[in-house]
C-alpha cells in the first residue's frame, strides 16, 4: 500500500488537459483551411507547412534557453495553435521568410519574452500579424482573387519568393469597398462585392470558420460570450450607418461575412490568455472588438481590422476584468474595481 499524501480534489476530469484543448482549436480550423485552399490554392497549405515547424523550433529553442523541459512544454500544443492562426491570417502568396519572421515575432517576442504560455498580455498570432503588416505592407496585402487559385507549382514558387506574385493577386472585397466607398454605381458594378449573399468567395471562408467556431462551442472549448458579443457589436453598429447611407457604409451582413470576421470572432478574440476572463468582462471585451473592427474598417487606414482591434482590447482586458468581477455567493454586491 503506497500512502501518498496529496490535497483534494483527488479526481480530475479525464482526458482534460491543455494540449487537448489546443488540439481541438486546430481541428476546428480544418473547414476554413479546406475552403481557403479551394479558393486561393496551395498557398494556404504551404503557409501552414512552414509556420508549424518554425513555431515548434522557435518555441523549443527559447524553452531550452530558459531551462524548461522542452518535450513536456511542447505538448501543450500552444505553439501549433499560434502557428496555424498566423498562417491562416497572412496571404497565401507569402514568401517563406515572411512567415518565419512573423512566427519569430509571435512566439519569441510576443509569447516567450513575456514569460511563456499564460503570461502573454497580447495575442501572439496577432502580434506577429501586425509586425508583418507594418513592416511589409506590400507582401501582406497581396491576396489572390477568389476562384483564381494558382497551380501548386506557382504557389510553390511564391513561397520560394521567385514568382511574379502580382500576376495572381487582386483586391479583396474589403479593399474594393474601401476604394469605392461613396460611389454607388461602382459598388453596384464590382463583382467581388456580390457573392451569393455577401462578398464573393470570402463569404464561404467565413461560413467555414463559423462552422469551426460552432464546433468549438459545442465541445465547450470556448464560451459563447466573446464571439457572440463581437459579431453582435459589429452588426449593431454597422446597421444604422448602412441604413443611413448604403453607398458609403457596407451592410451588416457584408461585414459579418468579409475578411477575418468569423475567424477573428471564434479563433482570435477567444484566445483565453489575452482576453478578458469574467463573464461580463467577455461580453464587453467582445462587443468592443466588434465596434473597433467596424470603425477601423470604415474609417481607418487598413482594410481589415481584426488584428488591431484585438490587440487594442488585449490592452484593456485586465482593466475590464477588474471592473467586472462576478457577485460572489453571500455578498450583497459585486466587488467591482473596489480599491484598496
Amino acid at each position: 500500500m503506497s500512502l501518498i499524501t496529496v490535497t483534494s480534489p483527488h479526481a480530475t476530469r479525464s482526458g482534460n488537459h491543455t494540449g487537448a484543448f489546443m488540439r481541438q482549436v486546430v481541428y476546428a480550423t480544418i473547414p476554413g483551411i479546406v475552403v481557403m485552399t479551394w479558393l486561393f490554392g496551395w498557398g494556404t497549405l504551404f503557409n501552414l507547412m512552414i509556420a508549424i515547424p518554425a513555431a515548434l523550433l522557435a518555441e523549443a529553442a527559447v524553452l531550452k534557453a530558459r531551462g524548461y523541459n522542452v518535450r513536456f512544454a511542447l505538448r501543450d500544443w500552444s505553439a501549433v495553435v499560434t502557428a496555424v492562426l498566423l498562417a491562416l491570417a497572412i496571404p497565401p502568396t507569402s514568401p517563406w521568410w515572411l512567415i518565419v519572421i512573423g512566427i519569430i515575432a509571435a512566439i519569441v517576442v510576443a509569447k516567450q519574452l513575456y514569460g511563456g504560455l499564460g503570461m502573454n498580455p497580447f495575442n501572439p498570432a496577432m502580434v506577429g500579424y501586425v509586425v508583418l503588416l507594418i513592416s511589409f505592407p506590400l507582401e501582406m496585402t497581396r491576396w489572390i482573387g477568389p476562384h483564381e487559385a494558382p497551380s501548386w507549382f506557382d504557389s510553390f514558387r511564391m513561397v520560394l519568393a521567385s514568382a511574379n506574385v502580382d500576376a495572381f493577386t487582386g483586391a479583396t472585397p474589403l479593399d474594393s469597398f474601401r476604394t469605392w466607398a461613396g460611389n454607388a454605381e461602382q459598388l453596384q458594378a464590382l463583382p467581388i462585392l456580390h457573392g451569393e449573399f455577401a462578398s464573393l468567395g470570402w463569404e464561404w471562408v467565413n461560413i467555414a470558420f463559423l462552422i469551426g467556431g460552432l464546433y468549438l462551442l459545442a465541445r465547450k472549448i470556448i464560451s459563447w460570450h466573446i464571439p457572440v458579443a463581437m459579431l453582435a457589436g459589429m452588426a449593431l453598429i454597422a446597421l444604422p450607418f448602412w441604413l443611413f447611407d448604403d453607398a458609403r457604409y457596407a451592410s451588416p451582413l457584408f461585414h459579418l461575412f468579409s475578411g477575418a470576421a468569423m475567424f477573428g470572432a471564434f479563433f482570435i478574440a477567444t484566445d483565453p490568455v489575452s482576453a478578458a476572463t469574467s463573464r461580463y468582462g467577455r461580453l464587453i471585451y467582445g462587443a468592443l472588438i466588434g465596434v473597433l473592427v467596424w470603425i477601423i474598417r470604415s474609417h481607418g487606414g487598413y482594410p481589415d481590422a481584426v488584428a488591431f482591434a484585438v490587440l487594442l482590447m488585449n490592452l484593456a482586458a485586465p482593466t475590464i476584468d477588474y471592473y467586472t468581477q462576478p457577485r460572489t455567493y453571500g455578498h450583497h454586491r459585486a466587488k467591482r474595481g473596489a480599491t484598496r
Partner: protein, 787 residues
C-alpha cells in the same frame, strides 16, 4: 401541507457545479453490515470542531459501553464516550484524522467483548416531558456532532440567537460527493429513525418549514424517506445531481433562495442545516439516551473486494475496516478519508474512524492516478464557469501564487469553500485548492499577527508615554531646583501659555471623543483603538490642567514653561498625527470622512500654534533653558522605534524558526513512524527531514545575527544592559547619598538646606526609578531575543 403529495418545490440553481463520475453503485449494492470489533479502539479527544475534550478516566480503568471517558471543555466542545466496554490501556498521542498528519491525544480502549452498556437515560416522551430547550444539553452530553462536514457540535447550532428566528430547518441528505453512499443506505434502511430525529429538531427549533434535500440519484432513499415522512409535514425535496449541491451554502440556496452572508452562518438568514446522520444520532440520543458511539461509514474503492457500508464503532482503526472489506493492500494507490473531491489522504492506516468519517476510499492507482504535472494557467475560464461560489479561481490562483494576499482577498479568497470543482476541470492540472488553502492560511496568520502587533504597539506607546512624562517631570524639577533661588520672571505669560496648552489638550480630547462616537455609530472596527486614544488624550488634558493650576499657585521660572510648552506642542502634534491616522483608516474603510478631516485640520492648526509658541518662548529663555531635553528626546524616540522594528523582526524570525523546527520534528516523527511500519517512501521522508532541519538552522542563524546586531547597537549607543545597570546603580547610590545628607541636615536643623535637599532627593529617586524601568525594559527585550 403534505409534501409527499404536494407539487415539487421551486428550486434555485446555483452557479457552476460539475458532474464527476458517481461511482456510487460500487458501495450501495449491499445492506449496512456491522464492522468487526477491533483489538483496540482509538478515540481522539478532538473528533469534533472546537476545543478538545478532557479525559476523565485513567489508564487501567474499566469502562462500560456508552460511559463518558472525556468531558467537554468550553462552549464549543463535546464529550467522548466509550464505544464499547473494556479497559483504558493508554492515553497519549496517536495519528489521527487531521489533514496535517499530526499526532494528537487519544484514549485507547481494549474491548472486553462483553458490550456491556452503562446506565442510559431514555426520554421517549420528549414531546411532553420538558421544554424543548431542555433537550439541547442532552444532545451535547451525548456528544452529537455534525456527521457530514466539519463535525460542529450540533447543540450549538440548535440554540440560535433570538434576533434570528428560524424559518427553515434544512436536512442535508444530498450526499453529492462521488463514491459515498452512507447517507443513501441510512435513508433506505432507517428512514423512520431519521424522520423521528428530524421531528426532535423541529420540536426544538420550531421552524416554519422543514425540508429534506436529496439528490435525484437516490430514488430508493427518496422513496423510503417519502414514506416515512407521510403526514408529518416534512417536505422531501429532490434536487438535481450536481456537485457540490450538498455544500451547506449551496443547498440552502437551492431550497430557499437565501444566501448565507459572506463570513456568516445560516442562522443569520433564518436557516439551520443538519445532516441526515446527525438527525439519526439525535433520535438515538434523546429517545434511547445513547451517546454517539458509532456511525455508518462507506468503504469503497476498487482496491476493495467487498465494498459497502458498515456500522462502525468510533475509534475503529481504518486498517481493521480495510481487512473487513477485503482490501487488496498492494492495489491501494491512495487512501482517502472522505470523498474524492474534498477528502484528505491518510498517511497511516492506523488512523481511527471519527464522528465525521463518512467514507474510506481505498482507490487503485488507475482510479485516482497520481496528479499530473502542473502546466501554466491559460486563463481558459473553465474554473470560473464551475465555481459554485461565483469566484474567479484563475485570478485567485494568480494572486495566491504571487502571495499578493491583498488582491486575493479583494477577489474574495475567503469565500472559497474548497470544493475543488475548479481544480477538477482545470485543463492545466493546477492544484488550485492547494494554493487557496495556503493563501487562506497566510491571510489568517497575517490577521493574527496584525492583532498581536497592534496590541504590542499599544503597550509600547503607553510605556513610551509614561517614560516621556516622567522624563519631563524630572527635567522640570531639576530646573526648578536650579532656578529655585532666583526670582520668577514673567510668570504671567507662561501661565497663559499653559492655559492655552491645556485648552488645546482638552479640545483634542473632545475631538477624539467625537471621533470615537462616530466610529461606534458606524460600527467601525477601530473603536477599541480610538477608545484608548481618547483615554490617553484625557490623561494629557488632565495633566495640562494640573500644570495650569500648579503654575497659577506657584509662578514658576520660564524654563519650566518652555518645557511645558514643548510638551504641549508634542502632544498637539501627536493628537494631529493620531487624527490623520484615524482619517486614513476611515478612508480606507470607506467611511464618511469629512468630519474627521475638519478635525484633523483643526488639530493641525493647533499643533502649529503650539509649535510657534515654543519657538517664540524659546529665544526669550534660550540662555536659561538648555535645549538638550528636546533634542535628547528625539533620537531616543527614534531609537525606540528602531528597536521596536527589530523586536518585530526578531519575533517574525522566531516564529519562522519555531515553525521550521516544528516541521522538522513532525517530519522526524513521520520518519520514525514510517520506519516502524516499513513504508517504502523512507528516502523521501528522510530528505524532507533534512530540508526542514536546514530551514530551521537557517532561521536560527538569521535570528542569531539579528540578536548580535541588536546587542552591538545597544552597546554602541551606550544603552546595553551593562551601562543601563551601572546607570541604575549609580542613580540609586546618589539617591541614597542624598538621603544621608538630608538626614544630616535634619539633625543640624538647617531649614533652607533641608528644603533644597529634599527636593533634590525627590528628583534623584525619580531618576533612579526611570533608570530601573529602562533597565527592566531592556532586559525584557533582551530576554525576548535570547529566549
Amino acid at each position: 401541507m403534505n409534501a409527499s403529495i404536494g407539487k415539487p418545490r421551486l428550486l434555485f440553481d446555483f452557479h457552476g457545479g460539475i458532474h464527476p463520475p458517481q461511482n456510487k453503485t460500487l458501495s450501495n449494492q449491499r445492506p449496512i453490515r456491522p464492522a468487526p470489533l477491533p483489538a483496540q479502539l482509538i478515540l481522539p479527544l478532538n473528533m469534533h470542531l472546537g476545543a478538545p475534550a478532557k479525559p476523565v478516566v485513567q489508564v487501567g480503568d474499566e469502562v462500560l459501553k456508552g460511559q463518558k471517558i472525556a468531558e467537554a471543555q468550553g462552549a464549543v466542545s463535546l464529550p467522548v464516550h466509550a464505544p464499547t466496554s473494556g479497559k483504558v490501556v493508554a492515553i497519549g498521542p496517536r495519528p489521527i484524522q487531521h489533514p496535517s498528519g499530526l499526532d494528537a491525544p487519544c484514549i485507547v480502549i481494549e474491548p472486553d467483548g462483553r458490550e456491556q452498556w452503562c446506565e442510559l437515560h431514555p426520554l421517549p416522551d420528549w414531546r411532553t416531558c420538558c421544554p424543548p430547550s431542555a433537550l439541547i444539553p442532552r444532545l451535547r452530553e451525548a456528544g452529537v456532532a455534525g456527521m457530514g462536514g466539519a463535525g460542529f457540535p450540533s447543540a450549538v447550532k440548535l440554540s440560535p440567537r433570538a434576533e434570528h428566528p428560524i424559518e427553515q430547518l434544512v436536512i442535508n441528505a444530498v450526499e453529492c460527493e462521488p463514491y459515498i453512499t452512507a447517507d443513501d443506505m441510512l435513508m433506505r434502511e432507517r428512514a423512520d429513525q431519521i424522520i423521528a430525529g428530524v421531528e426532535i429538531l423541529r420540536h426544538i427549533l420550531n421552524p416554519k418549514e422543514v425540508i429534506v434535500g436529496i439528490e435525484d440519484n437516490k430514488p430508493q432513499a427518496i422513496e423510503a424517506m417519502r414514506r416515512a415522512a407521510t403526514g408529518s409535514g416534512i417536505e422531501i425535496a429532490v434536487v438535481p445531481t450536481k456537485y457540490p449541491s450538498g455544500g451547506e451554502k449551496q443547498l440552502i440556496y437551492m431550497l430557499t433562495g437565501k444566501e448565507v452572508p459572506s463570513g456568516g452562518i445560516p442562522a443569520q438568514v433564518g436557516v439551520v442545516c443538519h445532516n441526515t446522520g446527525t438527525a439519526l444520532a439525535i433520535h438515538r440520543a434523546i429517545v434511547f439516551g445513547e451517546p454517539l458511539i458509532s456511525r455508518v461509514t462507506t468503504l469503497t474503492g476498487k482496491a476493495l473486494r467487498e465494498p459497502g457500508n458498515m456500522e462502525v464503532l468510533l475509534g475503529t482503526p481504518v486498517s481493521a475496516l480495510l481487512d473487513a472489506a477485503g482490501a487488496d493492500m498492494n492495489r491501494i494507490g491512495r487512501l482517502v478519508m472522505g470523498g474524492p473531491m474534498m477528502g484528505f489522504t491518510l498517511h497511516s492506516s492506523a488512523i481511527p474512524v471519527v464522528k465525521t468519517t463518512n467514507c474510506i476510499l481505498a482507490a487503485t492507482a488507475e482510479e485516482l492516478p497520481p496528479p499530473a504535472t502542473e502546466q501554466p494557467c491559460i486563463r481558459c475560464g473553465s474554473c470560473a464557469d464551475v465555481c459554485p461560489a461565483d469566484l474567479l479561481p484563475q485570478q485567485l490562483f494568480w494572486y495566491s501564487k504571487n502571495q499578493d494576499l491583498e488582491r486575493a482577498q479583494q477577489y474574495n479568497l475567503m469565500d472559497c469553500i474548497e470544493c475543488g470543482a475548479c481544480a477538477y476541470v482545470c485543463p492545466s492540472h493546477i492544484p488550485l485548492v492547494q494554493y487557496y488553502r495556503f493563501a487562506k492560511g497566510e491571510v489568517r496568520k497575517e490577521m493574527a499577527e496584525q492583532q498581536k502587533a497592534d496590541r504590542a504597539r499599544q503597550r509600547f506607546e503607553a510605556r513610551q508615554d509614561r517614560l516621556a512624562k516622567e522624563q519631563a517631570e524630572k527635567e522640570a524639577r531639576r530646573k526648578a531646583r536650579l532656578e529655585g533661588s532666583k526670582p520668577a520672571a514673567a510668570s504671567g505669560v507662561d501661565v497663559a501659555a499653559l492655559k492655552a496648552a491645556s485648552l488645546e489638550a482638552s479640545a483634542a480630547y473632545k475631538a477624539a471623543v467625537k471621533a470615537l462616537k462616530a466610529a461606534e455609530a458606524e460600527g467601525s472596527d477601530q473603536v477599541a483603538a480610538l477608545a484608548s486614544d481618547v483615554e490617553q488624550l484625557k490623561a494629557k488634558a488632565d495633566a495640562a490642567k494640573a500644570a495650569v493650576r500648579d503654575a497659577g499657585n506657584a509662578p514658576a521660572a520660564p524654563v519650566v514653561d518652555v518645557a511645558a510648552l514643548k510638551a504641549a506642542s508634542l502632544e498637539a502634534s501627536a493628537a494631529y498625527k493620531a487624527a490623520v491616522k484615524a482619517l486614513k483608516e476611515a478612508e480606507a474603510a470607506g467611511q464618511d470622512v469629512t468630519a474627521l478631516r475638519t478635525e484633523a485640520d483643526a488639530l493641525k492648526a493647533k499643533a502649529d500654534a503650539a509649535k510657534a509658541a515654543v519657538r517664540d518662548a524659546g529665544p526669550a529663555t534660550a540662555k536659561a533653558a538648555p535645549v538638550q531635553p528636546a533634542t535628547a528626546e528625539q533620537p531616543a524616540a527614534e531609537k525606540a522605534d528602531d528597536g521596536a522594528e527589530r523586536a518585530q523582526k526578531m519575533k517574525a524570525l522566531k516564529t519562522a524558526f519555531n515553525m521550521s523546527h516544528k516541521h522538522f520534528k513532525e517530519a522526524t516523527a513521520a520518519l520514525e513512524h514510517a520506519e516502524r511500519e516499513g513504508a517504502d517512501n523512507l528516502e523521501e521522508l528522510r530528505k524532507q527531514v533534512e530540508r526542514f532541519k536546514l530551514k530551521a538552522d537557517k532561521a536560527k542563524a538569521a535570528l542569531g545575527l539579528l540578536v548580535d546586531q541588536a546587542k552591538a547597537d545597544m552597546r554602541a549607543s551606550g544603552s546595553d544592559l551593562k551601562s543601563l545597570k551601572i546607570e541604575a546603580a549609580q542613580t540609586e547610590a546618589a539617591a541614597r547619598q542624598k538621603a544621608r545628607e538630608l538626614e544630616a541636615a535634619r539633625v543640624k536643623g538647617d531649614d533652607e538646606r533641608i528644603n533644597v535637599l529634599s527636593r533634590e532627593l525627590d528628583a534623584l529617586q525619580r531618576e533612579a526609578q526611570v533608570a530601573a524601568g529602562a533597565l527592566k525594559a531592556a532586559t525584557d527585550e533582551q530576554g525576548l531575543a535570547d529566549a
